[in-house]
C-alpha cells in the first residue's frame, strides 16, 4: 500500500528538522476529501499518529504560508516557493539595495533585527503579527530613520504605547499601521498622541473614536435647554 510508506517518509522529514509540522494548528477542518475519504482519514488518524502527522503537514502547506518576501529596487517581490526555498537568482542581487521587507508572521526577535538594520535604504517594513517583536525591538529601529517610509506593526501582541513612543525618530515615516495591538492600554488616546508625535505620517489604527461611547442622537426640532446660549 502506498499510503503507509509515504506517511513514514513524511514523519521522518519532520523528525529530521523541519519544525513546521510540529506546531500546526490542529483541529482545523480537513481541506479536501470526499465523504467516504473523510471518514476513512478520520478513522485512520484517530488510530495512527503517522496519519495525524500527515494530515497536519498538508494543513500547514495550505494554511500557514510564511510570507518572507523581499523587494529590491524597482523589482517585484521575491518570495520563497512552496518548499520555502528562494531561487538561486537571489545571488545576482548582492549589490542592489533592498527597498522593502515583508516579515509578517516571522519569529524575528531583538537580536535578529541586526540583519534588518543593515539595510540602509529600506523604505517599507512590515512586522505584522510577529510574536516576539516588543518595545525593546522598536527602540532599535532608529538607524532606519533616514529612509523608512512605511511601517506596519499590526497585530503584534507585545507592543505597547511605550514602544510606539520610540518611533518618533522615524521622521520620514508616511504610513504607520498600529491597528490591533492588544497590549496598548488605550488605543484611541495612543493614536492621537502618535499622530501628534509624527505630524507628516498617516497613522492607521484603532480610530480615536473607539473608546468613546455613542450618545443617543438629539432630535433636531426639539430645543433642548442645555444648548441655549
Amino acid at each position: 500500500m502506498a499510503a503507509p510508506r509515504t506517511s513514514l517518509r513524511l514523519v521522518a522529514a519532520i523528525r529530521n528538522g523541519s519544525s513546521r509540522g510540529i506546531h500546526g494548528p490542529g483541529g482545523a477542518a480537513t481541506p479536501e476529501g470526499s465523504q467516504k475519504g473523510k471518514t476513512l482519514l478520520q478513522f485512520l488518524s484517530d488510530r495512527f499518529y503517522d496519519v495525524e502527522f500527515m494530515r497536519e503537514y498538508f494543513l500547514q502547506r495550505h494554511m500557514l504560508k510564511v510570507h518572507q518576501k523581499n523587494r529590491f529596487q524597482n523589482k517585484e517581490w521575491i518570495r520563497p516557493n512552496e518548499r520555502g526555498h528562494f531561487r538561486l537568482e537571489f545571488l545576482k542581487f548582492q549589490g542592489v539595495p533592498v527597498e522593502a521587507v515583508d516579515a509578517s508572521g516571522c519569529a524575528i526577535n531583538y537580536e535578529g533585527l541586526d540583519n534588518l538594520l543593515l539595510l540602509k535604504e529600506l523604505q517599507s517594513l512590515s512586522l505584522q503579527h510577529c510574536p516576539h517583536v516588543d518595545d525593546w525591538c522598536l527602540s532599535r529601529l532608529h538607524p532606519l530613520a533616514s529612509s523608512l517610509q512605511e511601517l506596519s506593526l499590526a497585530g503584534c501582541p507585545h507592543i505597547s504605547e511605550r514602544g510606539l513612543a520610540c518611533l518618533h525618530h522615524l521622521q520620514n515615516l508616511r504610513r504607520l499601521d498600529i491597528s490591533d495591538l492588544p497590549a496598548v492600554s488605550n488605543p484611541g488616546l495612543t493614536q492621537i498622541l502618535v499622530e501628534e508625535m509624527l505630524p507628516n505620517c498617516e497613522v492607521l489604527g484603532a480610530g480615536w473614536a473607539q473608546g468613546l461611547k455613542v450618545e443617543p442622537e438629539e432630535q433636531p426640532d426639539r430645543a433642548s435647554p442645555v444648548h441655549a446660549w
Binding site: 531583538y110 518595545d135 525593546w136 522598536l138 527602540s139 532599535r140 532608529h142 505597547s160 504605547e161 511605550r162 514602544g163 510606539l164 513612543a165 520610540c166 518618533h168 525618530h169 492600554s185 488605550n186 488616546l189 495612543t190 498622541l193 502618535v194 501628534e196 508625535m197
Partner: protein, 486 residues
C-alpha cells in the same frame, strides 16, 4: 518457622492496611513511609527545625551559610546570583533578613526607576549595559514554573542630559567612553535639540547627550517582586527581622613588615523579631551588607570604623540615608509622548508618566539644603522654590502645571564619592558590601549582584571588574567620582 512468621507478618500487614483504609496501589508503600520517618527523625535531632517547647516557625534557621542583611533589589539580586552560580544545586544555604516585608521605606520601591548608560566610569557603564540585557530577558532569567511572566512596563525613551559651556568638554569625553563600552549615545547641538524637541528652551545649553537604546525607565516594584518570587523558588530562606548584633572572633596577626593587624570573622548574627525582644542567633559563614540607606549602621554593628581615625580600623563605611523628593504634576500642554527623561544642568529632572500628560521629577538639593532624613515627609515648598523655577526655565510649558502628589525616598548616599561599595572588607574578612549606590543602585543591581556572588564563590571578579569600588579606597583616599548625580 519461616512460614508462620511470614503468615503473621502478612496478616499484620493486612490489618494495618485495613486500619489505614488504603485501597489502591501496592499494599506496602515503603518508600513513602521510610522517607516520612527519616524526615521526622531529622527534625528531632539537633540542627533540625523541631522544637518541643514552643513554636519557632517564625524564627530564622539556626545555621545559614550566607546571611544577606537587607531584602531590597540589591540583596535579592545577590541571593539570586549566589543560587544561580553555585556549583551544585542546594550547595549554599542563603538567608535574607529584611526588617520590613511591606517595603514601606525601601529605596527600591520608592525609586523613579530609570536606567541609563550615561556615566563617566567604564565600570558603571558596563553594569548598566548588563542590567539592560537582564531586564530585556527578564522572563528567561526569572522564570518560575506556573507563574505568569513579568511585565516590567519598560519605557525605552532614553535619557537626555544637558550641558552648559563649562560641562561640554566633560560631556564629550564621557560620551566617547560610553561609546567605547558599547552604549548607543548621540551628541546633539542646541539647534538639533530644538528641532527634535521643540518644547525645550535651549538657552544656556551648549551640548546635549541623548541615549538611543537600552535607556529609559521601568517599574521597580515588578522587578522586586519578580526577584523575590524567583529567589524563593530557588530555595532562599526569608526572615522578617532586624539584625541587632554581630558576634565575631578576632585573630591577631603580624604583616610581613611586622605591623600588628586584627582580622575579624563574624560567626554569628543576632536577628531580632519584629515588635518583640525575641532574637535568634544565626550561625553563618558570610554576611552580605545590602541594607541600603542603613548600611552604615549595620557596618558599625560589625565594628567597622571603631578605631583611631586615619587607620584602617578607624575607617567607617561612609554610607548614610539622604532624603529625596519626587513630585507628580499634571501639565496639559506639556511635552508629548516622545519626551525622554530630561536632566537639566541645575540637576532638575523630569519624565512623562503614562498617557495622561502627567509628569514626575525632582531635584537633588545642595549640601546645605539637605533635608532631615528622620522621616519621609514631603516638603512642597522645596518644589515651589527650587524645582519649579528650573523646570519652567527649561520647558516653558511647565509654567502652568499643577502638582498632584509627591513622595520621598532615601538614597543610600556614599558621602565619599557617590559611587557603590562592592566587595569584602579588608579587616572583617567575611562581610561583603553591596551598597552605597547613591541613587543608581536599582539600575545596577543585576550586575552588582553577579559581581558579589562571583567574589563570594570564586574569590575575584570574573565578568565585570569592580575593583575600583572596593572598600579599601576609603582608607587610601582614592575617589572614583561620577560627574553627574541625578
Amino acid at each position: 518457622m519461616l512460614g508462620r512468621g511470614l503468615r503473621l507478618g502478612l496478616r499484620r500487614g493486612l490489618v494495618t492496611q485495613g486500619l489505614s483504609a488504603r485501597r489502591e496501589g501496592s499494599t506496602l508503600d515503603w518508600d513513602g513511609k521510610v522517607s516520612e520517618i527519616k524526615k521526622k527523625i531529622q527534625s528531632i535531632l539537633p540542627g533540625g527545625a523541631w522544637n518541643p517547647l514552643y513554636d519557632t516557625s517564625h524564627l530564622p534557621p539556626e545555621h545559614s551559610d550566607v546571611v544577606i542583611v537587607g531584602g531590597g533589589v540589591l540583596g535579592l539580586s545577590v541571593a539570586y546570583w549566589l543560587k544561580k552560580l553555585e556549583r551544585r544545586r542546594g550547595a549554599i544555604r542563603v538567608l535574607v533578613v529584611e526588617r520590613d516585608h511591606t517595603y514601606l521605606q525601601a529605596s527600591t520601591a520608592l525609586s523613579v526607576g530609570g536606567i541609563r548608560q550615561q556615566f563617566s566610569l567604564p565600570e558603571n557603564i558596563q553594569l548598566s549595559l548588563f542590567s539592560a540585557n537582564f531586564l530585556r530577558n527578564i522572563n528567561e532569567y526569572l522564570a518560575v514554573v506556573d507563574a505568569p511572566p513579568l511585565d516590567l512596563q519598560f519605557n525605552p525613551l532614553g535619557y537626555l542630559l544637558l550641558a552648559s559651556e563649562k560641562g561640554a568638554a566633560t560631556m564629550e569625553s564621557n560620551v566617547k567612553v560610553q561609546r567605547q563600552e558599547g552604549a548607543k549615545v548621540c551628541l546633539m547641538s542646541p539647534e538639533q535639540l530644538q528641532n527634535k524637541f521643540p518644547w525645550i528652551n535651549t538657552e544656556g545649553v551648549a551640548l546635549a547627550s541623548y541615549g538611543m537604546e537600552n535607556e529609559g525607565w521601568f517599574d521597580p516594584w515588578c522587578l522586586l517582586q519578580g526577584l523575590r518570587r524567583k529567589v524563593q523558588s530557588m530555595g532562599v530562606l526569608f526572615c522578617q527581622g532586624e539584625v541587632t548584633r554581630f558576634i565575631s572572633s578576632s585573630n591577631h596577626m603580624k604583616t610581613a613588615s611586622g605591623r600588628e593587624v586584627t582580622l575579624k570573622r563574624i560567626y554569628e548574627v543576632h536577628v531580632k523579631m519584629d515588635r518583640s525582644l525575641e532574637y535568634q542567633p544565626v550561625e553563618c559563614a558570610i554576611v552580605i551588607n545590602a541594607a541600603g540607606a542603613w548600611s552604615g549602621h549595620v557596618a558599625e554593628l560589625a565594628g567597622i570604623g571603631k578605631g583611631p581615625p586615619g587607620t584602617l580600623q578607624g575607617t567607617r563605611l561612609p554610607v548614610e540615608p539622604r532624603k529625596r523628593y519626587v513630585y507628580v504634576w499634571h501639565c496639559p500642554q506639556g511635552p508629548g509622548l516622545e519626551a525622554p527623561l530630561v536632566t537639566d544642568m541645575s540637576g532638575a529632572y523630569f519624565r512623562r508618566e503614562g498617557l495622561g500628560n502627567n509628569y514626575l521629577g525632582g531635584l537633588s538639593p545642595t549640601e546645605e539644603e539637605e533635608p532631615d532624613p528622620g522621616n519621609l515627609e514631603v516638603d512642597y515648598d522645596f518644589f515651589q522654590d527650587k524645582v519649579w523655577p528650573s523646570l519652567a526655565q527649561r520647558v516653558p510649558a511647565f509654567e502652568t502645571l499643577k502638582v498632584r502628589s509627591a513622595w520621598a525616598g532615601y538614597y543610600d548616599y556614599n558621602t565619599f564619592d557617590q559611587n557603590g561599595v562592592v566587595g569584602p572588607h579588608p579587616l572583617v574578612a567575611n562581610m561583603y558590601f553591596a551598597t552605597g549606590f547613591s541613587g543608581h543602585g536599582l539600575q545596577q543591581a543585576p550586575g552588582v549582584g553577579r559581581a558579589v556572588a562571583e567574589m563570594v564563590l570564586e574569590g575575584h571578579f570574573q565578568t565585570i571588574d569592580l575593583s575600583p569600588f572596593l572598600f579599601s579606597r576609603f582608607y587610601l583616599g582614592e575617589k572614583v567620582q561620577e560627574h553627574v548625580i541625578i
